[in-house]
């Protein structure tokens, strides 16, 4: 009985926990958000593309200390 309680039970419990709860990180490590936002190369390309089309957001009339 002691063998069952101290050896088998923890092993079975661990297996149920691991198999029943696959790591969440795996779920979004593969998302497009994570793929692009962890790649400097991709972000450089995209931000350059955005910069070409986005108008200025700061007025040229600003003067003095902020």
């Amino acid at each position: 009985m002691k063998y069952l309680r101290y050896v088998c039970l923890p092993i079975v419990s661990s297996l149920i926990f691991v198999l029943g709860n696959p790591p969440l990180v795996q779920a979004y490590e593969d998302t497009q958000c994570f793929i692009c936002h962890t790649s400097a190369k991709k972000l450089i390309e995209i931000t350059r593309e955005i910069a070409k089309t986005r108008p200025a957001v700061t007025s040229a009339e600003t003067e003095g200390e902020g």
């Binding site: 969440l24 990180v25 779920a27 979004y28 490590e29 998302t31 497009q32 958000c33 994570f34 692009c36 936002h37 962890t38 400097a40 972000l43 450089i44 995209i46 931000t47 955005i50 910069a51 108008p55 200025a56 957001v57 700061t58 007025s59 040229a60 009339e61 600003t62 003067e63 003095g64 200390e65 902020g66």
Partner: protein
């Protein structure tokens, strides 16, 4: 503060997966958007840049429930003192008030704190950008968060960058803002304060320097004579930056602009207009300065 390149502002450090608390939350759970879309334009449809402002409840509230309960009344979020002061001074005419409200919404209220703009990125008012690859910072770094906004009137004084001034003794001891202004103060305590001087859990010099009135303390006679008569800053301070005349408007393209006159160094001692149990002194400096240089 070094500006970040556009891509650096949004480059996520994959170490976030190791964050046992936040690393299990998928990007779109807070930011929205379409995580399965390979086209970045459509993938970003509906994306929220800062999901913690104006309401952080959905993004942070489930776990940080105590902070979530109070943070809306934090002065960094509510900016209530600005509104009170301008309402007190402005012409009561409804048309003027309406224009003032528009101007404040277009300009002044852009500078505010949020969970994300302290613990994840630089504030929006300095064009944002991750502090460290979207890794959550328990203590916001002083020079990228606090003095990003409080730059011209606190940073330069604290660091002794004005000509003829010296760094604060606290700076010399490498104490950063959070050494005095703890998270409890920043997050608010649920009370609506009219100004920062009223904030009950704000710092007081005697919190650390509690021995100054004791018999054997250095300069005890001077400290005892001036107790409740003059604030610490009246003696332990130096000139601080003053400014005035900031005019705001919108240009022909509809972009907001401001024009402010140059600031100047000055040091003024006056009667304390906001005497309270916490601030009983008769005299105070007109601004709480951050430059006690033990002059």
């Amino acid at each position: 503060m070094e500006p970040l390149a556009p891509h650096e502002k949004i480059l996520v450090d994959s170490d976030i997966l190791e964050d046992e608390n936040h690393g299990e939350i998928a990007c779109h759970e807070c930011h929205g958007g379409n995580p399965g879309d390979a086209d970045w334009k459509t993938a970003h449809e509906g994306v929220v840049r800062d999901p913690t402002y104006p309401d952080a409840a959905a993004a942070c509230g489930d776990c940080h429930d105590e902070i979530n309960e109070h943070y809306q009344k934090s002065l960094h979020v509510s900016l209530r003192p600005y509104k009170i002061v301008t309402d007190t001074r402005a012409n009561p005419n409804a048309v003027v008030r309406n224009k003032l409200a528009g101007a404040m919404n277009a300009h002044c209220f852009h500078c505010h704190g949020s969970c994300g703009q302290c613990h994840i990125s630089r504030p929006n008012s300095v064009e944002g950008g991750f502090l460290d690859g979207h890794l959550f910072q328990k203590k916001p770094p002083m020079e990228e968060v606090c003095t990003a906004c409080h730059g011209s009137r606190i940073r330069q004084e604290y660091f002794g960058e004005h000509e003829g001034t010296q760094p604060s003794v606290h700076r010399k001891m490498d104490i950063s803002c959070d050494g005095c202004h703890a998270g409890e103060e920043m997050h608010g305590d649920g009370k609506e304060y009219a100004n920062r001087f009223e904030v009950e859990n704000g710092p007081k010099c005697v919190d650390c320097h509690e021995e100054i009135y004791e018999r054997d303390a250095e300069n005890v006679i001077t400290h005892r004579i001036h107790k409740d008569k003059a604030s610490c800053h009246v003696c332990h301070s130096q000139q601080y930056n003053n400014c005035s005349a900031c005019h705001v408007g919108k240009d022909k393209k509809g972009l907001p602009f401001y024009k402010s006159k140059a600031s100047w160094l000055d040091f003024k001692i006056g009667l304390n207009p906001l005497k309270s149990e916490k601030r009983p002194e008769i005299c105070d400096t007109s601004a709480r300065t951050h430059c006690s240089g033990n002059l």
